[in-house]
């Protein structure tokens, strides 16, 4: 099963819609609640990152009987130092992002914690690709 979503940078009113849709689908598929929670928390932080830090992006979800693979790609400023960005507390978030309840530099570390596999690639001035996998 495949799902795809378009995300607009800066649009906090929409942030979380894709994660919400994915949650509904996983529930319908009868995946256990703990696994769903891990997946959607990681996805939600990643979705918010596109809204908060990039110009626009796409979320592609692939679900088979063993796992869910989520690929988030965005056009944006990219991440100059991924190792640094992965550190808890590192953030370049704007005041607006902080007013939304994010921007404490906890997103990427929490994505790592909630996924079985996480891979992030980024090109400065082009964009970022984040792949996450969770096994059922």
């Amino acid at each position: 099963m495949r799902l795809s979503f378009k995300i607009e940078g800066g649009d906090f009113t929409q942030a979380g819609q894709a994660s919400s849709e994915v949650k509904k689908v996983l529930k319908q598929l009868g995946i256990d609640a703990k696994t769903i929670k891990n997946i959607v928390i990681a996805l939600y932080e990643a979705e918010v990152n596109i809204v908060a830090h990039a110009y626009r992006g796409t979320i592609d979800v692939e679900i088979d009987d063993k796992k869910i693979t989520i690929r988030l790609t965005d056009e944006g400023p990219g991440i100059p130092d991924i190792e640094m960005a992965m550190k808890e507390g590192f953030s370049t978030a704007s005041k607006k992002v902080r007013e939304m309840g994010f921007g404490a530099g906890m997103g990427l570390p929490n994505i790592k914690k909630n996924t079985d596999l996480m891979d992030i690639k980024s090109t400065v001035g082009v964009g970022t690709e984040l792949i996450m996998v969770n096994y059922f």
Binding site: G16, S19, S20, K23, I41, Y44, V48, F102
Partner: protein, 114 residues
């Protein structure tokens, strides 16, 4: 603690989810930082927050949190209410500060997550 009791202590209005007034709630967590909430592993928890925007409800949705209390006299917008109802959540509105609301509920026996 019963939800109705919590609402009483917080002098709060239950603006949605009145039908859950008899639910028993065990834990409380106070934060305006949604990333913080997203690190919790808790069931049966009331989120106490002054962040009354759609992201608070989305965060609760992803975290399987059913109960939210907005403090500092923050009001739930129509958009928030719609989303909360869709997800079967309860929303309280309290005039108290985050500190006062947390203190009163802690004193009354609501348990901390950590």
């Amino acid at each position: 603690m019963k939800l109705a009791e919590i609402a009483g202590i917080l002098e709060a209005k239950i603006v949605c989810g009145e039908q859950f007034a008899n639910d028993e709630i065990r834990y409380g967590f106070s934060s305006d930082l949604m990333s913080d909430v997203l690190t919790l592993d808790a069931e049966n928890m009331l989120l106490i927050t002054g962040l009354s925007n759609v992201q608070a409800v989305r965060t609760a949705e992803m975290s399987d949190i059913k109960y939210i209390a907005f403090v500092r006299n923050k009001k739930a917008s129509d958009e928030i209410l719609e989303l909360a109802i869709e997800n079967g959540m309860v929303i309280l509105e309290s005039p108290f500060s985050l500190f006062k609301a947390s203190g009163l509920l802690y004193h009354a026996g609501l348990k901390p997550i950590y």
